[in-house]
Symmetry: C2
Subunit: 203 residues, 2 copies
DNA sequence: TACTAAATCAGACAAATGTCGGGTATACTT
DNA sequence: AAGTATACCCGACATTTGTCTGATTTAGTA
């Protein structure tokens, strides 16, 4: 036996690579890749990897191996061109473009929004950028949020001064917004993206 | 038969949903979901969807349905904390963090790099931002590139003036870099990202 | 009505696939 | 020497899965 200690690692590396590529391998594909003459050899390595928590397994279905903790399972969130009034759900329903995210939204939903205007340019958020948003009705002081102002979604930094809620643009040319009505927050921005060349490819 | 015209669409929606969730369905899973009493019913819808180009199929393996054009098949690129000298390949080998991208790199490889310094701040690239890079040895005038300067990777905009190559920061506090030796370009920046809260989750 | 095309169903087969019981060899421990 | 754990192998079985042939139903049309 020339290489013994490294076999387990090679199995893991191969499975991980296949999962990240989008197609978890079958047990026999692992067997062939590693050169085992018995299925059981691959199976035992996989079992051991699952037992040690480095892999997870969903039922006894084919290609059922995953990376733990939903890691590596990129999800897609809908890209909304614009959001108006309270039609967030409807806007999400009708959209046909998605962007891949590796963010974990937990119980909440996520969506993406294309930024209009340069009111956040000093925060490095340029017109045309895409923000990834975690849908939630509340946010804390200092967080960048998507809020409804005049029935249109806008990206601003939330400030709370003396118990009063303000929306601060990060551009000296724009005024601070002090909402008269209770502010409707659509979500909190968790990521900013800029595609420098290719368009977003609709999924 | 109450709903007939919509069945094809329902099959497509289901398959797409499953693919985006990371696990393409088997033919019989489609059958069960749609309530068909025959496998063939699901099979024919799938064949039709493939024939019309709305789905793609890889060989006669299980769970072999994909969205066309590698769309929806998010891949992961390695996140490099720093790149020095010519050790790009080695740096990629050793990394343990990945970020999900929906960019299509074609034949080329992609990687991600954390930006140091504020030399590109006027281009909306802040310190700590992550750039997604398409590995390529050449770039065109005006493109943002990752290049080796003093054996360290740096992000700058490439300018070609009178046949001379220059690296322009987008921050008036920094000088234009005019490389003495032939410039070594690691790749072209195709995307800029900023995670506002959570750390990158290692994959 | 007769014809046609599409959709669905019925049944089946071969290959792929997950799983299991038991065997062999090696290294290490007691 | 005996025991034990690990890694690997052999053969096999039941499901799952992709695929095929043919029949039935339904809707539309000449």
């Amino acid at each position: 036996m020339v290489r013994k200690g490294g076999t387990r690692e090679r199995v893991y590396e191969y499975v991980r690579k296949r999962i990240l590529e989008g197609t978890p391998p079958t047990v026999r594909e692992v067997q062939r890749e590693l050169g085992f003459r018995a299925v059981q050899s691959a199976q035992e390595h996989l079992d051991a990897l699952v037992a040690s928590g480095r892999l997870e397994k969903v039922g006894r279905v084919s290609r059922g191996y995953r990376l733990p903790g939903s890691i590596g399972t990129a999800s897609f969130v809908p890209l909304l061109g614009s959001v108006q009034a309270g039609e967030l759900s409807e806007a999400i329903e009708n959209l046909d473009a998605y962007v891949a995210v590796d963010h974990d939204f937990g119980d909440r939903r996520g969506f993406a929004l294309r930024v209009r205007g340069d009111s956040m340019i000093d925060a490095g958020i340029l017109p045309g950028d895409i923000v990834i948003v975690c849908e939630q009705p509340h946010a804390e002081n200092g967080e960048v949020v998507v809020a409804l102002v005049d029935d249109e979604a806008t990206v601003k930094r939330l400030r709370i001064r003396d118990g009063r809620v303000e929306l601060h643009p990060e551009n000296r040319s724009y005024p601070v917004i002090v909402p008269a009505d209770p502010l409707r927050i659509l979500g909190r921005v968790v990521e900013v993206r800029r595609y420098l060349e290719s368009d977003i490819r609709p999924v």
